[in-house]
């Protein structure tokens, strides 16, 4: 079955998430760090009366080295290099959350993938739903059902 996906880029990779329910795309802003949070949590942010946990998606996917346990995720180079990045606010099973991405690319329609590949080099597979191609560009489609159990 065909579905709309939002495509975005992290660390030179193209990724996609199925569009369902409300979605907001915001310019990157500093989240409020929470001491003792998981290392891949940037912090929390409020948007229109809801408090969102903001996940450093590159770290969740294993695309960057994680920081020491107990410290909030920080990108190398500090906040200045985050300008131009985006925060996508989503919902999974009623739980609101945000992810940080390098850039939002576009929307695309794909067939839902059948099976995820066994492995993608350098990639933690727990959120991978499958692979699709858009103009010969490989897109890794993600499924956030297991995001809240990633710790």
């Amino acid at each position: 079955m065909m579905h709309n996906y939002l495509l975005f880029r992290i660390a030179e990779r193209y990724l996609g998430v199925k569009l369902q329910g409300a979605i907001e795309i915001l310019p990157w802003r500093r989240s409020r760090p929470v001491p003792l949070s998981y290392s891949y949590i940037e912090g929390i942010m409020e948007y229109r009366g809801t408090v969102y946990p903001v996940f450093h998606l590159a770290q969740v996917l294993g695309l960057t080295r994680t920081g020491p346990i107990g410290f909030t995720a920080h990108a190398p180079g500090g906040d200045a290099l985050r300008k131009g990045q985006s925060i996508i606010l989503l919902e999974e099973s009623g739980k609101p959350f945000g992810i940080t991405v390098d850039s939002v690319v576009k929307m695309a329609r794909f067939e839902d993938p059948k099976d995820p590949p066994a492995e993608i080099k350098g990639f933690d597979m727990k959120l991978v739903k499958g692979i699709q191609f858009d103009d010969d560009q490989e897109i890794t489609l993600l499924n956030f059902e297991r995001l809240f159990y990633a710790g």
Partner: protein, 136 residues
């Protein structure tokens, strides 16, 4: 009817945290703290508070924040008894009609009970400390 809830805003390494006024006994400066080697590293020592010795907790150690122990002392009552808490500064009193937000799921291990929620203070989010969950 006054339905405002009041919180004390304190600062640790530049970030704001809140404590409910209902648990607050005194705001003072950290002095005359007696070292006690028998206490674990989250404690800075003990203090004579109105004739009774109370433990003084270094909140930065509890929350694994960097920096020296704060110079401000907040005395609170908790389910673990009366505690002294070291903070950098006690900056303001927040009066609000808003109920605290819940700490969102997925942020930290659910077995940790350091926080009671999240408050909005103007444009900032303030993490509400759970005075009953700070000690193991």
């Amino acid at each position: 009817m006054d339905d405002k809830i009041r919180f004390l805003i304190v600062s640790l390494e530049g970030e704001s945290f809140a404590l409910p006024i209902t648990s607050l006994l005194e705001i003072t400066v950290a002095r005359n703290i007696q070292k006690d080697q028998k206490l674990s590293e989250i404690f800075e020592g003990k203090l004579d508070y109105r004739g009774k010795m109370i433990p003084v907790v270094n909140l930065k150690k509890v929350l694994k924040l960097p920096g020296n122990p704060g110079g401000g002392l907040i005395v609170v009552k908790s389910s673990k008894g009366v505690l002294g808490l070291l903070v950098d500064t006690a900056s303001e009193l927040l009066e609000t009609t808003q109920k605290p937000f819940r700490m969102p799921l997925g942020v930290l291990n659910p077995s940790l009970h350091y926080y009671a929620g999240v408050l909005r203070n103007r444009e900032d989010l303030v993490v509400l400390l759970n005075e009953d969950g700070l000690l193991p």
